[in-house]
C-alpha cells in the first residue's frame, strides 16, 4: 500500500524543499544578524510541529505550550547560568559562586533543586523530561476524566498564567521578570559570538529535522491514523478497543517534548530565557504559527513559524502599532478564510495548477498528465 510507506513522494519533495530552504537558501541570503533571528524562529517551529500533531491531528488544543517551551528553556538556562557564575566571575557578589540574581535577592546559598543543573547530561535529560512529566500529569488528570476541547484549552491556559506568575513572583530562585540572562558559555564554548550563533542555527536545523522525522513517523504509523479517527469519532475509537486517553496523553507528551527542545535551543540561540516566553500571549501565538502553516501539516507548521515571526519582526520594526492589528486579523482570517493555512493554499490552489502546468509541458506526446493524487 502506498499510504503505508513512511515517505510518499510528495512528502519527500516537501522535506527536501524545506532542507534546501533551511540549510542553503536562508544562510545564503541572510546576514548573520538576520540568520540568528531565523534561528530563533526555528526554535518556535519545534512547538508548532508538536501542535500540528496534538491539535491538527489529535484535535487537542493546548494553550499552554509556552509552559513546556519555558520549562525546557529554563532547564537549559539554569545550566548555562551556573556555568557563567563561577566564583571568579561573581567575585564582587556578597556570596560568590551563585547566580547574580540570587545574590541581589539576598540568597546566600544555591537552592537544592538548582544543584543537578551543574551536570550537562542531567540538563539535557531535564530539557525533555521536565516538560514531558508535567504534560503527563496534566494529561492523565484531564484525559482519563475525558476532559477535552475548550475545557482543556482553558485549563492549559491557566497553567501558562500560573507558571508566569510563579516565575515572576519567585525572583530569588528564577530571576523574576527579567528571566535568566547574561549566559555565556556551553561547556567552555562561547555562545555569544556570531560564529557560535551561526553554528547554533545549523544545530537548530538538524534537530528540527530530527523532530520532523519523528513526527512523520508518528503520523504515518497506525497511531497517526488513530489520532485522526479520535478527533472525529472519539467514541467509536473506544469501541474499536482503544484506550483513547493513553493516546492523547502520548501525543500531548510528545508535543511537550518538542516544545521543551525548542525552548532549550531558544535559550542557546538567543542567550536568555524569561517569563515573557512562557505566558498566555506567547502560548497562544505559538498556536497561530501552527494555524498559519496549516494545522494538519508538520512542514506547514515550520513555514508558519518562520513566516509569522518574520512578519512580526518586520512590522514591529517599522509599524509597531500595525503589528497587533495584523496579528489579530491573521487569527481571524486563518480561522474564517483559510482553515488549512499555507499548506491548504499550497495543496488546494498551487499544487494542482503546478501539476497541470508540468504535465502539459512534459507530456505533449501522450496527451494526458498523471492524474492528480
Amino acid at each position: 500500500m502506498k499510504t503505508n510507506t513512511l515517505f510518499p513522494r510528495a512528502d519527500i519533495i516537501g522535506f527536501a524543499v524545506l532542507a534546501v530552504v533551511i540549510f542553503l537558501l536562508l544562510p545564503a541570503v541572510l546576514d548573520s544578524f538576520r540568520l540568528n533571528l531565523f534561528g530563533k524562529y526555528l526554535t518556535y517551529a519545534f512547538v508548532a510541529v508538536g501542535l500540528a500533531l496534538c491539535w491538527g491531528a489529535g484535535g487537542i488544543l493546548s494553550l499552554g505550550q509556552g509552559v513546556f517551551f519555558g520549562l525546557g528553556g529554563y532547564c537549559m538556562a539554569m545550566f548555562l547560568k551556573l556555568e557563567a557564575s563561577t566564583p571568579e566571575n561573581t567575585a564582587i557578589q556578597s556570596t560568590p559562586g551563585i547566580p547574580d540574581f540570587m545574590d541581589w535577592n539576598q540568597l546566600t546559598a544555591l537552592p537544592w533543586w538548582w544543584e543537578p543543573f551543574y551536570s550537562l547530561p542531567f540538563t539535557i535529560l531535564a530539557v525533555v523530561m521536565v516538560p514531558v512529566v508535567f504534560a503527563f500529569v496534566i494529561g492523565v488528570a484531564m484525559f482519563k476524566r475525558r476532559v477535552g476541547g475548550v475545557y482543556f484549552a482553558i485549563i492549559t491556559q491557566a497553567f501558562a498564567a500560573i507558571l508566569t506568575i510563579l516565575i515572576i513572583g519567585q525572583q530569588g530562585f528564577t530571576g523574576g521578570v527579567n528571566g535568566i540572562t547574561d549566559l555565556r558559555t556551553l561547556w567552555g564554548w562561547d555562545i555569544r559570538t556570531d560564529e557560535a550563533k551561526e553554528i547554533l542555527y545549523y544545530v537548530n536545523g538538524v534537530l528540527l529535522f530530527a523532530v520532523l522525522f519523528a513526527a512523520q513517523f508518528v503520523r504515518k504509523s497506525k497511531l497517526g491514523r488513530l489520532l485522526i479517527a479520535m478527533r472525529d469519532q472519539e467514541d467509536r475509537v473506544r469501541f474499536s478497543g482503544y484506550d483513547v486517553a493513553s493516546f492523547k496523553i502520548f501525543i500531548f507528551c510528545l508535543g511537550a517534548a518538542f516544545a521543551g527542545i525548542g525552548g532549550a535551543m531558544f535559550t542557546l540561540q538567543v542567550g536568555f530565557m524569561s517569563p515573557t516566553l512562557v505566558g498566555i500571549v506567547p502560548s497562544i501565538e505559538m498556536v497561530i504559527f501552527c494555524a498559519v502553516g496549516g494545522r494538519l501539516s508538520i512542514l506547514g507548521a515550520v513555514y508558519g513559524a518562520l513566516v509569522v515571526n518574520w512578519a512580526k519582526t518586520t512590522f514591529s520594526e517599522s509599524f509597531p502599532e500595525l503589528w497587533l492589528l495584523g496579528l489579530g486579523g491573521l487569527f481571524i482570517a486563518v480561522v474564517m478564510l483559510f482553515p488549512n493555512g499555507l499548506a491548504g493554499i499550497w495543496s488546494e490552489q498551487i499544487a494542482p495548477r503546478l501539476t497541470k502546468l508540468i504535465s502539459k509541458n512534459t507530456n505533449p506526446a501522450t496527451g494526458q498528465g498523471a492524474p492528480a493524487e
Partner: protein
C-alpha cells in the same frame, strides 16, 4: 506572626480583609456574569470578553469627561448614564461581532476561541491608538469618595460598597432575564435542544445574536463599574480573562448560582491567602487549587448528570 497584634486589631484586620475579599468577589461576579451567559448558555468561548469590559470602562471615561465639561451641575449622576451607555455600546458591538464572526463558527468551538483572541488583539490596539497606552481614570463623584467608619478600627470605602451593590443588582437583573423573561426561556430551550427549539418556532439565529449581545453588554456594565475602583488601560482586559473563565468553569458552566458561589469561594480564598503570603503566591495557590479541583471534578461545582 499574630503576636504583634492585639485581639481587636486582629479582628479588624480580618474584617477588612474579608471586606477586601467581598469587593474582589463583586469584581469576579461582574466579570463572570456576561461570560456565564455566553459560555454557559451558548458554549461559545469569547476570549475578547475582557476587551468588551474595557470598552464599557472607556465609555464611562468619556461620559465622565463630557459631564465634567458640559454638565458639571449634574455630575453626581453621570455614572448611571455611563453605565446604560456602556451596556448599549458593548452590547451593540457584541451583536455586530456575532453577526460578522461568531455565527460562522458555532460548530468549531476551538476556532471561535482563536478568532475571538484575534478580535481581542485588534480591540486592544484600537484602544491604544484612540485613548493612548497610558491608563486613564475617571473622576469619581463626591458622594462616592471617602469611607464609612463602622467602628474605631474598621472603615469601608464607599466606592467598594457601591460596586458590591452593583454586583448584587446586576446579578438579580441577569437572573430575572434568564429565568423570568421570554428571552431567557428561549435561550435555555436552545441550550437544551437547538433543533427542537427551532422546530417549535424559536428564532434560534436571532436569540443567539441577542444572547451574545446581552452577554457583551453585561461585560460593558462590569467594565463601567470597575472604573469606580481602578483605572483603565488598553490591555487591562487580558489580565481578567483567565480568572473569569476559571470562575465560570469552576462554578459549572451552565449554572448562574454556581458562578456566584465559585466567584465567592475563589475571591475569599485569594484575599485570605493574600494576608499570609505575597500577592503572587496567593494567586498561584488559588489558581492551582481551582485547577486541581477542576481536574478532579471537571464538570464544576454545580452540574447535573444528563442522559446522552
Amino acid at each position: 506572626m499574630f503576636a504583634d497584634y492585639s485581639m481587636s486589631e486582629l479582628g479588624a484586620i480580618f474584617a477588612m480583609q474579608g471586606f477586601a475579599g467581598l469587593i474582589l468577589f463583586s469584581v469576579f461576579v461582574l466579570m463572570a456574569l456576561g461570560l456565564a451567559i455566553i459560555f454557559g448558555q451558548m458554549g461559545v468561548i469569547n476570549m475578547a470578553h475582557g476587551e468588551f469590559m474595557i470598552l464599557g470602562a472607556y465609555v464611562t471615561y468619556l461620559v465622565s469627561n463630557f459631564f465634567a465639561a458640559f454638565l458639571p451641575g449634574i455630575f453626581g449622576i453621570y455614572f448611571f448614564i455611563a453605565m446604560g451607555l456602556a451596556f448599549v455600546v458593548s452590547g451593540g458591538l457584541g451583536l455586530f461581532i456575532e453577526w460578522a464572526m461568531i455565527r460562522h463558527l458555532y460548530k468549531r468551538p476551538l476556532d471561535t476561541l482563536l478568532a475571538t483572541w484575534g478580535l481581542s488583539l485588534i480591540l486592544q490596539q484600537l484602544y491604544r491608538s484612540i485613548f493612548g497606552a497610558r491608563e486613564v481614570g475617571v473622576t469619581i463623584p463626591d458622594w462616592m469618595m471617602g469611607s464609612l467608619p463602622l467602628t474605631d478600627l474598621i472603615e469601608v470605602p464607599i466606592n467598594g460598597i457601591f460596586v458590591m451593590v452593583l454586583a448584587v443588582g446586576i446579578s438579580v437583573a441577569v437572573y430575572v432575564m434568564m429565568f423570568r423573561s421570554g428571552w431567557g426561556k428561549q435561550v435555555r430551550a436552545i441550550n437544551q435542544n437547538r433543533v427542537m427549539a427551532g422546530a417549535v418556532g424559536i428564532n434560534t439565529e436571532w436569540t443567539d445574536r441577542l444572547t451574545f449581545g446581552i452577554g457583551c453588554g453585561v461585560a460593558g456594565v462590569a467594565g463601567s463599574a470597575f472604573t469606580m475602583i481602578g483605572s483603565t488601560g488598553p490591555t487591562a482586559g487580558q489580565l481578567y480573562i483567565v480568572d473569569t473563565f476559571l470562575v465560570v468553569v469552576f462554578g459549572g458552566a451552565a449554572s448562574l448560582l454556581g458562578t456566584i458561589a465559585s466567584a465567592f469561594s475563589i475571591s475569599q480564598a485569594q484575599s485570605i491567602m493574600e494576608f499570609f503570603l505575597s500577592g503572587s503566591m496567593a494567586k498561584v495557590l488559588t489558581l492551582l487549587t481551582v485547577v486541581g479541583i477542576l481536574m478532579l471534578r471537571p464538570q464544576g461545582l454545580f452540574a447535573l448528570k444528563l442522559r446522552k
